[in-house]
């Protein structure tokens, strides 16, 4: 890459949720639903003297990508670490449920999920968890009709119940800076001890859960640079693909065979994990 190209390159990660969405959609097609002027704030944060936000940290917008109707659901990582509360969760779940209704009526709308989130917002624990179950239900149902596209871009990563949502997507795009995992480093350290997982060991964390490793193990479908144009191009390609059940969700036998071969006591290192994922699993052997 020459210097001029590098300087011209725009970061996707440095944009807020609304600007990320705007950059993905065909010019002039973005229509935000339940925008901040609707003032749909978390009813639970205020009770705990925590500052609310007028969109509860979630941007929903309809529009088109290369002419195809889409609905973007983008989590704003700068508000509460992208954590999902009742309102933000209902915005995503509700949008996906409406997209499902349209798909079932023969009017496909492709969901694009920008998932930068720590998972359930603990200040609204059970309301967040319930909303995430509804998000899972909608993604799983939509996948029969349209590709469900997920993007994990920034260093906040995608964790908790929303990492399961990412795992349910038909097409998952990540950058090298992104992380994808169920339990955040601090939670594992708290629950299992620092010997099990040192939450300050950033090289270890990225080596096991970063975008590059997840691509190498097939848990992410596309690795992309933090370049707004390049990410938009990958999203457009994913939107144009047909509906499918990715092997990463559907191939139960291969996953169980892989787990049967690994030593659960061994301290996981990136290279070993990659090898385990690359060993053919369809050789018919049972041991």
């Amino acid at each position: 890459m020459d210097t001029a190209t590098l300087i011209a390159r725009e970061s996707f990660v440095e944009r807020g949720a609304r600007e990320r969405v705007a950059g993905l959609l065909d010019a002039g097609t973005m229509r935000e639903l339940l925008d901040p002027f609707e003032r749909l704030r978390s009813p639970w944060l205020a009770e705990q003297d925590i500052v609310t936000q007028a969109d509860d940290g979630v941007v929903i917008a309809r529009g088109a990508i290369a002419g195809t109707a889409v609905v973007c659901c983008a989590v704003e990582p700068a508000f509460q670490g992208g954590a999902i509360g009742e309102v933000g969760g209902a915005k995503i779940a509700g949008a996906l449920e409406l997209a499902l209704e349209d798909a079932e009526a023969g009017r496909p709308v492709v969901p694009v999920l920008l998932l930068e989130t720590g998972g359930v917002r603990l200040q609204e624990a059970n309301c967040g968890l319930a909303a995430i179950a509804e998000i899972h239900a909608a993604i799983a149902a939509l996948r029969a009709h349209v590709p469900v596209v997920g993007v994990v871009a920034g260093p906040v990563g995608c964790f908790g119940g929303m990492s399961i949502a990412a795992g349910l997507c038909s097409q998952l795009i990540a950058t090298r800076e992104a992380r994808l995992g169920l339990n955040g480093p601090q939670v594992i350290e708290q629950e299992a001890g620092v010997d099990e997982f040192d939450s300050r060991d950033r090289p270890m964390i990225w080596s096991l859960t970063g975008g590059e490793q997840r691509r190498a193990t097939g848990l992410v479908d596309t690795l992309c640079a933090d370049d707004a144009q390049a990410i938009a191009a990958e999203v457009a390609a994913a939107v144009a693909a047909g509906p499918e059940d990715p092997a990463r969700v559907a191939d139960v036998d291969a996953a169980l065979a892989r787990l049967a071969r690994i030593d659960g006591d061994r301290r996981a290192e990136a290279e070993w994990v990659r090898d385990a994922f690359q060993t053919p699993t369809d050789d018919g052997s049972d041991s």
Partner: protein, 268 residues
Amino acid sequence: MTATTPSSRGGRWLAALTDEGPALPGYPDSVRVVDGELDGTPTRYIAVVPDPASDFPRARGGEVGLVEGWALARAVRETMTADVDGPRRPIVAVIDVPSQAYGRTEEAFGIHQALAAAADAYAAARRAEHPVIGLIVGKAMSGAFLAHGYQANRLIALDDAAVEVHAMGKQAAARITQRTVEGVEALARTITPMAYDIRSFQRLGLLHRLLSVADADSPAGPDVAAVRDALTEACRDIGDSRDLGARLGEGRAASLAVRRRLRAQWQS
């Protein structure tokens, strides 16, 4: 034959509801799959139970780990395959899961994907017209609950102090929200969704039934009969519904309001 009493509450309820039926082969010891009946209808019962000998040290206490997530997916998908041309059996997820497995190996091998596979299977079974019921007899925590039970058409819980639903244990929740454990407990008393107890969960409108039993820990005669009746009634109540709409009530006013306003704006 005298079966040893299962070590966990979930294991005991599974045994009681299936008349101590044999677990199907082909599953790990931590995922017990039993084909029993409900009101004369063949029914598949599934529970995650502790396995002190598990190859994965962080998943020995009944947590949903890598193997458990994928085995749950297999147990549910296998039911769908077997019933594809016939009546769709009810599936009962007996829920007593203290948490997902917290560990380095778990993250490295993609536990989120294992849990996604389980949630996906339950959701697919629900859409394929299997009545799916989640029976909460103990803890229903976080990712473990999302993988095992939260995709059910209906949720039934026992009204008991040890029955809890939450997104995270108190210690970790305190650390992540930069509060003390006492602070988390104090908030749990006033903020309904932050509470751990099942009655608070019921107030959110997420339960189909909250069931009083004499002894939630040791299922016996009348309690087992009452649970069976509730499961049977839930199957009838499911009828032709295939989505999770029954959970959206006044207990989650904001969830309803968001959906109402979103619908109004959906078509331009």
